[in-house]
Homo-oligomer: 644 residues x 2
Amino acid sequence: MVKKMRNSFQLILISMMVMGLCAASHAQSLEEVMKARGLSQEDILAAAKTYTPTGKIDEYVVFSSGGQSGQVIVYGVPSMRILKYIAVFTPEPWQGYGYGDVESMAILDQGRIRGRKITWGDTHHPAISETNGEYDGQYLFINDKANPRVAVIDLKTFSTVQIVPNPIMKSEHGAAFVTPNTEYIIEASQYPAPFTNDYVPLEEFNEKYRGAMTMWKFSRKKGKILPDNSFSVELPPYAQDLSDAGKKISEGWVFTNSFNSERYIGGFGPGNTKFKDRLPHEAGMSSKDTDYLHMINLKTAEKLFKEGKYTMINDHAVISIETMVANDALFLIPEPKSPHGVMIDPTGQYLTVSGKLDTHVSVYDFNKMMKLIEGKTYDGKDPYDIPILSMQESLHGQVELGLGPLHTQYDKEKGIAYTSLFVDSAIARWDFLNLKLIEKVPIHYNVGHLVSAEGDTVSPDGKYLVALNKLAIDRFQQVGPLHPQNHQLIDISAGRPMSVIYDMPLPLGEPHYAVMIKADKLKPIKRFKQKWFKNRVKPGRESVIREGNKVTVNTTIIRSHYSPEIIEVNVGDEITWNVTNLERAQDETHGFTVDLYNINGSLEPGETNTFKFTADKSGVFPFYCTEFCSALHLEMMGYLLVKP
Amino acid sequence: MVKKMRNSFQLILISMMVMGLCAASHAQSLEEVMKARGLSQEDILAAAKTYTPTGKIDEYVVFSSGGQSGQVIVYGVPSMRILKYIAVFTPEPWQGYGYGDVESMAILDQGRIRGRKITWGDTHHPAISETNGEYDGQYLFINDKANPRVAVIDLKTFSTVQIVPNPIMKSEHGAAFVTPNTEYIIEASQYPAPFTNDYVPLEEFNEKYRGAMTMWKFSRKKGKILPDNSFSVELPPYAQDLSDAGKKISEGWVFTNSFNSERYIGGFGPGNTKFKDRLPHEAGMSSKDTDYLHMINLKTAEKLFKEGKYTMINDHAVISIETMVANDALFLIPEPKSPHGVMIDPTGQYLTVSGKLDTHVSVYDFNKMMKLIEGKTYDGKDPYDIPILSMQESLHGQVELGLGPLHTQYDKEKGIAYTSLFVDSAIARWDFLNLKLIEKVPIHYNVGHLVSAEGDTVSPDGKYLVALNKLAIDRFQQVGPLHPQNHQLIDISAGRPMSVIYDMPLPLGEPHYAVMIKADKLKPIKRFKQKWFKNRVKPGRESVIREGNKVTVNTTIIRSHYSPEIIEVNVGDEITWNVTNLERAQDETHGFTVDLYNINGSLEPGETNTFKFTADKSGVFPFYCTEFCSALHLEMMGYLLVKP
């Protein structure tokens, strides 16, 4: 009875804390400031044009997860204009992704899990490929939390080229993070589950449910993940959270933190008969004061994998906790409860962890941790026999920043970091070497992650920071009960106070996490070369070829006609339709859609797409170009006639 | 031989004209202007903050078609920030539209054509509901060109509530346009086809292929289109293009223009054996100098429908050309070839038509047209016996504006109009009463439609205009071969020259057409009332109820837990899962996803969703909240256990 009361009281306390949202005040109006400066409306207009210039190019590009949209959002900084969505896990008609085109259909098909076609993803953490710990702008990786998968995006074309499902996880979170030369892409599980696809009752949670970290081997040459050269490390059933790869002095190690090291199972409410009347997860999973930071020696794990010291589960190599521990490759360090991420500083020496229910950020010193490991100075072991390092002896120190500290990014200036404060609705600028808070700026409202320019690399740029705020409420025109997110641009130039420059509503998904790269590192192609496509149709070689009930149509398109324009087939014919865009002018995209057949292609200059479908309904079906390509765009059409 | 040469020459000429893109010069840099004004960087920053204010609300809201994304884009003016995408024809996971929620699945299912599930749309023309010819901000309508359908969006919630397929068209374009009190939503076909779903050879094009205009009856009370009270008017197989409904003195009439009144069939290229070596559509469809503006008496058509003077085709009432002509309800007037739209001025008297291959815009006078009709003064008849009015006698006059005139919107100031010039890449401001060009401003590049504030209502606002440009090329950071579109904001305030204020990349679809409404006319709800949902789950009434293999789960959610959290079922069970978001705080959305089951819901405060699926795979499936709702958001999860 006493225990129950204590738990209920704790629940109320937590609820009060986490529900205490939106207390921050509004940004001060700047119109008075302008008036005081003696600026007219004309001045303001001219100034605004200079600041958000037409025809100018942004200095930085942000890749933001598209959250539950399953896509990636690309926008410029400082203009805060959205430049592109990259279709990843969700079919996207306007890009011709998953609407009949054989290539994109095959990529989406790679994402099947247990045979099921999954048509969305909960994208979380994008990562840019790195060379020597610097963003190199070649590839982007992103994960799907709901259906554990990782995707590879080629930044030459800004398009998805591979989707790899995780063979042993049922849910994940701590992906994608890359090692300093993109040898591996790291993926950590979230909610523990059996590695197999079997039903295992929750009574066997401690024994049979597991976490894991998968090390996906990336081949830069092939531009692909190599599943056969990849492996996982078994972890305890603590809900692993966010990961990071060591850099410089900590290179070769990878880290992930966790929550619910309590291994609590809920059941809250009258609906569940088995675990009836237990406290909800949010209370039970945060009852201890600390969870565990996991420290994994990737070099050793890689060696163990190469030596065959693993078990195959679902055709995937898994190194056991026992093997990892026996080879001094897995350690735990207590961290304040319910953290969201472990962020390694540019030198690789300091690791910042923020327990969201603690007002402090904790700075761990990699050198101290290594010294404990080298001396085998352990503070006991966890129930899975993993050695625990002393939190106190691993810490460089702690700093009180405010309520709900969540995520940290770094500045160009030595020792300067920025941490988002979810409950406070603020960004803190602080000194992680001298352990002191410098200043805070209010944001609107409830910031999750934040991103500074190249802020998780070995050489951050400073200058700009974006707060990824969860609530927008009163910041924009009301558009119904579902509000946009609010990404706020903050000026973090050295020598002046932080200042919110811009509110950017995000109308897609809940953009969870973002990375910001110097724009000039990106080297996308401007057009495709026709010869890159084996099915390309050369001008003059257009044709309709029939073999039995298989019909191949070879079509070219150029402003503003298809060739051929009239196609007659029989009902039941299997159509393979190769379409080549002959344009050489940049941006001269043509579309290709066949009415009723759920087909839509977007053909960039030089590109060939192949569409396959069965002409299963007879009748008259116009096909046409869906891009306004010229003054005679509407005339760019043809008829598919299907005879009964 | 001579004929062929002439045609080839014509083709080259047209190609040169339509391909002459991007000739416009860049906007002048404004930094010098700023320097000349003696403004510092600090001034500019402060000014920019005032101009793009944080925490300020836009004066206007634009509803733009999302093109081939199948959605609607909502953005603010003058901030040019995207506030929302409204999911319409394409499933959208982050809004929980088409991912297991019974209500949205049913709406998408209404969009089936001949039984086929179609998962995208080529949205073209949004229309806001009107009262007395003024936008009233209650409903939005939008069409799908590829799979002829019209959707209804309720602006109380900014969500799609109905999709209605067109029963007789195979392709459409001239929708959605509303009558001045939203009695009807107009939908005109594009590429002619048989009304039935039969195969009809192209040799019978003139006799059996048809265009049409459908008049969808809208019930404001029900917030729905009433298909049984709706009907179509048969039209000749000219490719009908864009429509508009008369207003004030022309109220009761509706208009649509057309191209390919040549009734030309292509076949270009060696692939087609039947119509081999004919010129492509773009040449053959633009060989005549004029096409036909169609003038339809809606009042008479409505009367004929009510009198039963129609034929049922595919269970839909179609009034024949013959009946329309016999009742003086259908007329044609020549218009310059290949136009894109007929735009009626605020008084209802003047109709602007621009043939894209003519340098003039043509202003027709409704009074003159009516006089010809009343006097039965016809200039002959077309092959379908439709009376033709004289172009010369219908015209108020013509004005030379530039290359590729396309679409016109109106100003607050009497007689002032704005027309987009596709080939010129410019916007023209001109006087349609006194028939003179006032000025042009270059845009970047190749503008299709344009929109001015309430510019197609009986009382336009002036002030702002947005050019919907098709090409962006060098305006933004390169993001691969597929570029964004570019919506440019233009200051059209009276008394000063037009000026491009802002370049806005549009990263979704090819936004084809837009409407701009005064923001304060929109009255969306801020949250749902729980009692609006018949399946709502009341707190304390959570349950899991089994009847045979049917399991109903009644779940409530509130920061930050599901109740119940553990659900055990047997493989093969049919699950009905009611989920109620108990939050009352604005913007406190919770998500609901079940791993692997391709289910994702977005539950706004007060909302109930019902998810139905068969638990067809055994195993352990975490479910969790996909919205970062509180500091303990990650703990907001449960397990669905499916026993074998």
